[in-house]
Symmetry: C2
Subunit: 243 residues, 2 copies
Amino acid sequence: MRFTSEQRLDDGVLERGFTLGEIPGILWTPASASAPAPLILMGHPGGLGRMYPRLAARARHSAAEGYAAATIELPGSGDRPRIAAVDEARADLRRALEASEPVADEIVDRLVLPLVDTAVPEWRAALDALVALPEIGGPAGYAGGPISIGVRLAVVEPRISAAVLFAGSFVPRAIFEEARQVTIPLLVLLQWDDEGNDRQMALDLFDAFASKEKTLHANMGGHTGVPQHEGDDGNRFFARHLK
Amino acid sequence: MRFTSEQRLDDGVLERGFTLGEIPGILWTPASASAPAPLILMGHPGGLGRMYPRLAARARHSAAEGYAAATIELPGSGDRPRIAAVDEARADLRRALEASEPVADEIVDRLVLPLVDTAVPEWRAALDALVALPEIGGPAGYAGGPISIGVRLAVVEPRISAAVLFAGSFVPRAIFEEARQVTIPLLVLLQWDDEGNDRQMALDLFDAFASKEKTLHANMGGHTGVPQHEGDDGNRFFARHLK
């Protein structure tokens, strides 16, 4: 991991850009950290530049409560090389949606599974590098989407101790099966009136998790309208499980 | 309203028993109240004696955040005269459940609607008496079940500004229709794995509310296993809407 930029934000949070091999990422650490801060990996749908304002806001909200937060670019997004097979699946998806046809499982598989297969080892490598920093320590959490990456991480990465998952559509059947192996504490956020979201599928996925401690928070407000108080709820969820 | 008992609990909360006509009730007020405290009416399934430990715990949790909390006995429960028609409907319900038969709508109507029709004016009369006390002021909230009473109160009582509703089964169709008229902020609690609960019906009811601001919190733990952190979430919900 190589730091490529560093700035102190007006609330004192330290924001550092980094690269991990060819993968760009951002790390935010709290203004005053007397002890190593627990780390929250922040998932997003891809495109760090486009997502930056929302990610920085989430990271600063977490940093105010003493968490470090980090994110990396997804494979095929932002400045990273496109993945032809995924782009093709995305085009097929768009055609199906525009024709108001049901989206075939095989399109969802081609769209999501290569991303999960590539991204999850990258997130784990980022975790290796990040927890080696002296300012970061303790158990880690994952917060965000795509939910399929969160599910796979929760299954394969023992350092992820709790996760806030953002419900989204287009979850492959294979990920549903993996969800039955998830046992860490979960907070699942569902935007109830999100037209681009398959509500029943999100409820079924919530039901599938094997976690003894799982909570679903459903809110109004559309895909990007997650209410402010859910950020506070997420911090308190991590406070119960990461500290 | 006539106070019948008074004790100071170990956390300083003042607990007073009262009667409103023939209806017994309990009022809890915060240890130190410099200003009139907003009031939370606490719903319960009936039987103040049996429910006392849980109600007192909820009330003290709210009082610690500056709320007054009050409850009254339901019609036909505890020391109040039985209601023959409701008892009969309850026996019919039990027979249907024991025979694993579907519960007919008309049984649910006979079980719930007379309770709602009688209880809601009683809760409103209690609200009249309670807000006349100098230590109580501002907007009021409702928290608890049966959800049918909460729905009716939210529709007919303009002083109820926000409600935390506990999802339960056996909601009459008429109450579903009333739910479409509810516009106050709602937090709906659903115990996801409660075997005595009709999960799909609870989700449909949540969907039916017209409130722009509504949140569903689903948790594991069975009917009486609502996690501790939901008490905190409830307080914060009321802090956003009653203060």
